[in-house]
């Protein structure tokens, strides 16, 4: 065969023979798949020279479930349920990405109520996801208290979801043609209360972690991602925005009810880990602003424009939909033959998959601890990488 295919084993060179008794030797270690940093099951093969990382090779695939293959056998409605299981921290946005693409393909028109409910829920989910990321970053940096503070807020937001949606993690809420359930009667008041609770809490996060000199020392100037490199590597979401590229689909190609809300896109200046950190903290505040503006304007109307039992007919062709999840742009390519109940090919453009490879560009030359800091600031969710 003309094209040579490699294996991981071939890449791992045996360490060079030590020149003298005092010279140092490089060595390989496995970070993961069972390692506190792997946040799931991600493996890194790291070549170390003492404390310095020389090479970081991500080896994903430990939670590969073949979601794209499964989609070829499922109907469009059933696909939504798999989208939960990809980026489970922003499950609603996965639902939305599938629904948006299917609606666009099938030509389903939505009413304002659905769009606004979807937007509010998605933004709450974004806050929840970022809160969790903040907690885990604290843990990775050694601040265990931050971890539990973050989980406290995550539970509180989770209760809002639970009341309307009935689920906390895998929501299956946003469906093609609407949302599964209408919002509960006290929803607006509860979310308002939540916002007034969360605002000071995010300031508290700043005093607890962001303002800490040790954290700033650990994150500032560590793993600087050049905007050119970020674009070339296909980064999206906060990782790209931290490098100074204001690419946010909510602004660039407004979908849902984002056009109705006034918000800023948080942009970093340098692209170091600190910028990636602070962009997300700012995004939490902006998300709360969006929710606050939309809450009062939820119009009356049905929460579904088509019955859940109706089979969705998609014409023959190739369709693409994308939206901004907490971690970047999630796109879905659907290829339909116009006959079956589901697609003949579905491909997810995963933000995490593209962000993952950044680590092998940024980490070399930094210490082991910085590798952790960079990884943590990338905010990877492994099931979405592996799909």
């Amino acid at each position: 065969m003309a094209v040579k295919v490699k294996t991981l084993e071939e890449l791992l060179k045996p360490p060079a023979e030590a020149a003298s008794a005092l010279s140092t030797q490089e060595y390989y270690v496995n970070m993961g798949p069972q390692h506190p940093i792997s946040h799931g099951s991600l493996r890194f093969v790291v070549r170390l020279d003492g404390e310095t990382a020389k090479e970081v090779m991500p080896v994903p695939g430990y939670v590969h479930r073949g979601i794209e293959k499964m989609c070829e056998h499922l109907s469009y409605r059933q696909m939504v349920h798999l989208s939960d299981r990809m980026d489970y921290f922003s499950a609603l946005m996965g639902n939305w990405a599938v629904s948006k693409t299917v609606e666009h393909a099938a030509g389903i028109e939505l009413n304002d109520r659905i769009e606004i409910i979807r937007t509010i829920m998605a933004e709450l989910q974004r806050v929840q996801s970022h809160v969790l990321w903040w907690a885990v970053l604290g843990m990775d940096m050694g601040a265990a208290t931050a971890f539990l503070y973050g989980f406290r807020e995550r539970e509180i937001i989770g209760e809002i979801f639970e009341e309307t949606i009935g689920a906390r993690l895998t929501m299956n809420y946003i469906q093609p043609g609407g949302v599964m359930y209408d919002i509960q009667p006290g929803f607006v008041a509860k979310v308002k209360k939540l916002i007034s609770y969360l605002r000071p809490v995010i300031d508290e996060y700043d005093t607890l972690l962001s303002g800490n000199v040790i954290l700033q020392e650990r994150l500032r100037n560590v793993g600087v991602l050049d905007p050119k490199l970020a674009l070339s590597m296909g980064c999206t979401g906060p990782v790209l925005r931290a490098s100074g590229v204001p690419l946010d689909l909510r602004k660039v190609q407004p979908y849902g009810a984002y056009a109705k809300a006034d918000f800023n896109v948080a942009v970093g200046s340098k692209g170091d880990s600190w910028d990636r950190y602070y962009v997300r903290v700012q995004e939490m505040r902006e998300s709360l602003r969006i929710v606050e503006q939309l809450l009062d304007g939820i119009p009356e109307g049905p929460h579904m424009v088509m019955k859940p039992a109706v089979r969705i007919k998609v014409p023959e062709g190739m369709f693409y939909g994308q939206l901004e999840t907490s971690r970047g742009i999630l796109g879905l390519t659907l290829v339909s033959d116009g006959k079956g109940a589901g697609p003949i090919r579905a491909h997810f453009r995963s933000p995490n998959y593209n962000n993952l490879w950044v680590i092998s560009a940024l980490a070399p030359g930094w210490r082991v601890a910085d590798t952790i800091a960079i990884l943590s600031s990338l905010d990877l969710v492994i099931p979405e990488i592996d799909r």
Binding site: V29, T145, V368, I372
Partner: protein, 373 residues
């Protein structure tokens, strides 16, 4: 000399002349050798028991404090407010299988936890808990404590090296570098008090603080030395923000990755006892040991303070220091290796040297408060 009613009482009652356990044992030698043996055995068993109870109490305290720092309750199920939780954990750890990695250096792997633990136990012998309770009073007490507690790094190094695990080795090497570096600053800070007190004996240092604690009396030098000692010794005992040898999120547990069951709990216990030693040394050298808190000219207040038994004073001060160290742990993130070294060699060490020089000038010119008679 400021003397309150109570300290006078203590002096007349002969508390000053109270003998240490070692002296009692050697005195008994002239009467009956078995009495000496009984003293030694009693001392050993007593200190073992004390150390175990102390370890359990400290672990429980850490879990409770951590819980309340993190908006949760901590252990609540085993016993009222979970006070038997650590006991239950000890039972669990003892029953667990003791796993030794296949290619490990077995002898070293088995020995390492005892080395870590033993170093701490030896230090506990010289600490003056109260005028009536001290196991041994060495005339080189401070030197002994710094020397022996530095020995504890051997346990960690051996444990990490013998496990045949790259993460363990990395953790052990970090630990070795860190403990040896910070030992310098901690010792420099202790030297300040030694200069003022004019003795290396821990009992002598406590007695020299009759008129006031060295942290106040030393004209600012004392408080700088205290802060340096607190930072350096937090690093020496591998607690957050200096817990890089364990560095859970980086090294999956560092030097004790491959340890399980009882041997792991020995490392764990050694860490907590080290914290106690740090607290005890800080209390003894800077905060007056078992001396009560007195204010000049407030006779009534001083008398009330003097009513509190010395051992309560001592433990109160120690637990305050321990609480501060736990407070650090549950607030701060972790430093990076090179930042850690920079903090020691570029910040703490120069300050420590300048501080020591300033202290010697103060001692020579008798410029500190209440300069003896």
């Amino acid at each position: 000399m400021h003397e309150s009613v109570v300290t006078t009482w203590m002096m007349t009652a002969g508390a000053w002349q109270a003998k240490t356990w070692a002296e009692l044992a050697s005195d008994a030698l002239s009467q009956n050798i078995w009495l000496t043996v009984a003293y030694i055995a009693g001392g050993l068993i007593g200190s073992m028991t004390a150390v175990t109870i102390l370890g359990l109490a400290l672990i429980y305290a850490e879990r409770k404090i951590a819980g309340h720092f993190q908006c949760r309750l901590g252990p609540m199920r085993v016993g009222p407010h979970g006070i038997f939780q650590t006991l239950a954990d000890v039972v669990k750890l003892l029953m667990k299988e003791d796993i030794i990695p296949d290619r490990a250096d077995k002898a070293m792997h088995l020995l390492a936890p005892f080395l870590a633990m033993g170093a701490t136990m030896l230090v506990i012998a010289v600490i003056p808990y109260s005028p009536l309770l001290q196991l041994v009073d060495l005339n080189i007490g401070v030197l002994y404590v710094t020397a022996i507690s530095g020995f504890g790094v051997m346990g960690i190094l051996l444990g990490g090296w013998s496990s045949n695990n790259k993460w363990s080795l990395l953790g052990a090497m970090r630990s070795g570098a860190q403990i040896i570096s910070y030992e310098v600053s901690a010792t420099l800070a202790l030297m300040v008090v030694v200069l003022f007190a004019g003795t290396l004996s821990l009992r002598g240092i406590v007695e020299s603080q009759m008129d006031g604690w060295w942290i106040w009396r030393a004209h600012g030098v004392g408080i700088v030395a205290f802060i340096i000692y607190l930072i350096a010794s937090t690093a020496e005992i591998n607690r957050t923000p200096f817990d890089i040898p364990e560095g859970e999120s980086e090294l999956t547990g560092g030097f004790h990755t491959e340890y399980s069951g009882m041997r792991f709990s020995f490392f764990f216990l050694a860490e907590f006892l080290n914290m106690f030693v740090v607290g005890a040394m800080a209390a003894t050298l800077f905060l007056g040991g078992w001396m009560p808190f007195h204010l000049g000219g407030w006779e009534g207040f001083n008398n009330v303070m003097g009513l509190i038994p010395p051992i309560v004073w001592f433990y109160g001060k120690v637990f305050f220091i321990i609480f501060v160290i736990m407070w650090f742990r549950w607030t701060f993130p972790r430093l990076r290796v090179d930042q850690l070294m920079r903090l020691e060699w570029k910040v703490l060490l120069p300050i420590g040297f300048v501080n020591l020089l300033a202290a010697s000038v103060l001692v020579l010119t008798n410029l500190y408060f209440f300069p003896g008679n």
